[in-house]
Amino acid sequence: MTKTTSILLGGVGGQGIVLASKLLAHVIQSHGYDLKISEIHGMAQRGGSVLTYVRFGSEVHSPLIEAGQANYILAAEKLEAWRWLPYLCRGGIMVCSTQEIKPVPVIMGAERYPEKVLEKMQSLAADGTLGGLFAIPALEVAAACGQPKAATVALLGVLAARLEFPRESYLQALADIVPARFLAANEKAFLAGYNYF
């Protein structure tokens, strides 16, 4: 009986969190694990927080990840990384983008975008609270590969290099799921993330 692994993926509507979880699920399934995925489809198509839980192991019961339970977090936006940080378990790994997308209360001036988030996570990594912090400018990395919309796939590359599955499984998942005309740029972005650190 293998222990259940929990991966939380968070971002902003339109960033491709659902695609990233689909790719991850494809890889996990190809390795014969039981898995559960839980998504919340929010009220609006765009602009709100998007959250997906991916859990796998020999037998998975609850589809949910609660605070302190995630082994890994993939956050496609910096504030979202900070929002979900308490969901990591002690020693858990944070993979995040340095991209900032201001929520409306910040745009309106009612609230402030949190400052020094990366530095604060860095010191949590230094004292061992986090097992690792892997932050990349995912948007720029993906743009350099010819497709800024593949930013979250680049982040998936960073996460993939920390998970137990071989690189080839992800490339297979990309080939099976991503439409042919976007495939090359997505593969490039994935590998750029995979080899970033």
């Binding site: 559960k36 919340i40 927080s49 019961h61 979202e80 308490p86 409306v104």
Partner: protein
């Protein structure tokens, strides 16, 4: 056979397909919408969006009487709309099997209330099945159709957000072609006038006793004996949460959450030291078990509101949570990221204008309910589908001083769902409210479904596209006009004039949903005339942000609607060189 990763909704559709369902009808509603979208791919199934849930169930009833197997789906509040036919369908029974899928939303991820639909099964005296993952979602739909035909009853299947939008592995089978059942006219069973209905009510009560007996032996209900110190009765998603939280506990898993099996429950209770019920929302199981004279603990430990997660179960029953939040510095608060009207949303200017004119806004259900949030904040109430127009009339009747100040705001799909009768009531009862129909040419909030105004069916066939203006005129409204909401001056003038009119009036604010409008438009940018007055910020457009002492428009988000340029008094917003084609390919 390899397993497929399916959402609960996809699995429900698959189960219906495999079980030979021929007709499926629904009105979209989160989290149930994708059931019909998946069924629509199977050409063996006549799958349709109905105008509302009542109509969907009635179509299902006719199809069942005609001998076909039927699935009808809706979100929890949809059952309120369909409750009228449901209560009497219980009396008539079915011919072809009929399953009514209802998707509850504990925690209200995207709903206006979190009513517990299990009460409907008891209310209508019909069975309800409750799957706890995607495999069961498929299997239970098939079991529900069998049960429906075997017991001559509609069967409800209750999903929830975590089942419908959760994905897990499913073993698929092939479709079984189930022949149409013979149609024999039987007026005593299907024409529900008092004399016949009295007979049928007795049959319903007798059927319920037989269903209870069947529930005692059904494989859908099962005892999992583990450690006998703790026994837990649960169903649906709560089963998974209990297994996660207390893997050693004995469990009575109820696949049939109504009617309950008293002997099975008594046997389980006798086999454990301490008995609990874990259920979200109402003490539905707990109350019935207590009425059986069995000692059980439930809602004294768990809330009546929201979802119940494993941590809470472990803490309440085992005295220890599964995990605690990672300690992080608390000096950095996290701003909320609420959903917002999209950049270029044609609803935005309407709410901007309504707020400027300080009108009382009777709202409705759709993306446009977001017009209630700051900075627009232009909505006074929102109750249920279709309530805007009738409640608007009520405001005016309740306080005659509000005459000329009440505006009812409703979307195109919601108008077709249940707005027509309200508008008829305004005309008939001599109201003078203004109704603004936000016609964005699609059912947007649930993910762009077709409706009677779009010209296409669920399965993609071209069909009649109903025009809203002639409908309003036919209902007796003489003042009906169409406005393009991107022309904010024309919109403001129309609202001012029509709100003041001493008779019912309708403005159709017509412009396609910004997510569907692919036409190239020039982007807008701020120029040196900007005095940082903040007028454009009052639109609440996510593309417009304050950067220090100035305002900027994000070219990656701007879709070129041009509304901001019209609200600027200093000509500080103009067309940029680029178009939406360059930026948002």
């Amino acid at each position: 056979m390899t397993k497929k990763l399916l959402s609960g909704n996809e699995a429900i559709a698959r189960g219906a397909y495999e079980a030979g369902v021929r007709v499926a009808a629904a009105y979209p509603g989160t989290p149930s919408t994708e059931i019909l979208e998946h069924l629509a791919h199977y050409r063996e199934v006549a799958a349709q969006w109905s105008c509302n849930e009542k109509v969907a169930l009635e179509v299902g009833i006719g199809a069942s009487f005609a001998g076909a197997r039927v699935l009808v789906a809706m979100k929890h509040v949809g059952v309120n709309v369909a409750a009228d036919p449901l209560m009497t369908l219980s009396y008539t029974g079915v011919n072809g099997g009929l399953v009514l899928v209802v998707a509850d939303d504990p925690g209200m991820h995207s709903s206006q209330n979190e009513q517990d639909s299990r009460n409907y099964a008891r209310f209508a005296k019909i069975p309800m099945l409750e799957p706890s993952d995607s495999q069961e979602a498929r299997d239970f739909v098939m079991a529900a159709l069998e049960m429906s035909e075997a017991f001559d009853t509609p069967v409800m299947l209750r999903s929830s957000t975590r089942i419908s939008h959760g994905q897990s592995l499913v073993t698929l089978g092939r479709r079984e072609e189930v022949p149409l059942r013979l149609y024999v006219k039987d007026a005593n069973k299907r024409v529900m006038m008092p004399a016949a209905a009295r007979q049928r009510h007795a049959a319903v009560e007798e059927r319920l006793l037989r269903l209870q007996e069947a529930a005692e032996k059904s494989p859908l209900n099962r005892i999992e004996w583990r450690d006998r110190k703790t026994g837990i009765i649960c169903s649906g998603i709560s089963y998974q949460q209990v297994r996660e939280a207390l893997p050693e506990a004995s469990v009575l898993k109820l696949g049939i959450c109504y009617p309950l099996p008293p002997a099975l429950i008594a046997a389980f209770a006798a086999g454990v030291d301490k008995l609990y019920v874990v259920e979200e929302l109402d003490p539905f199981l707990e109350d019935q078990i207590k009425a059986m004279g069995i000692k059980v603990t439930g809602k004294s430990l768990f809330p009546l509101t929201g979802e119940i997660h494993p941590n809470r179960i472990a803490a309440a029953i085992a005295g220890k949570p599964l995990a605690t939040p990672l300690p992080v510095p608390e000096d950095t608060p996290v701003p909320a990221r609420p959903p917002v009207l999209c950049p270029g949303c044609p609803h935005r200017s309407v709410f901007y204008a309504l707020k400027q004119q300080k009108l009382l806004v009777s709202g409705d259900i759709g993306c446009y309910t977001l017009g209630a949030l700051p900075p627009l904040g232009a909505m006074d109430s929102c109750i249920c589908m279709g309530a805007s127009i009738s409640a608007g009339l009520g405001y005016e009747k309740g306080n005659p001083e509000l005459k000329g100040k009440v505006v009812s705001v409703i979307g195109d799909s919601t108008f077709f769902h249940s707005g027509l009768t309200g508008l008829m009531d305004v005309v008939y009862n001599q109201g003078s409210t203004l109704t603004i129909i936000l016609d964005n040419r699609i059912t947007a909030m649930t993910g762009h479904q077709h409706n009677p105004g779009t010209g296409y069916t669920l399965q993609g066939d071209a069909t009649a596209a109903l025009e809203i203006a002639p409908i309003c005129r036919a209902l007796g409204v003489r003042r009906v006009r169409e406005v393009d909401p991107y022309d904010i001056r024309a919109l403001q003038a129309a609202i001012k004039e029509e709100a003041a009119a001493d008779e019912p009036s309708v403005i159709i604010s017509r412009r396609a949903c910004a997510l569907l409008d692919k036409s190239a438009k020039p982007l807008y940018e701020i120029n040196d005339n900007c005095r940082n007055c903040g007028a454009c910020m009052r639109l609440g457009c996510p593309a417009i942000a304050r950067e220090g002492d100035s305002v900027t428009i994000d070219p990656a988000l701007c879709v070129g609607c041009g509304v901001c340029a019209q609200v600027c008094s200093f000509n500080a917003i103009g067309k940029a060189g680029a178009t939406t084609d360059d930026e948002n390919n």
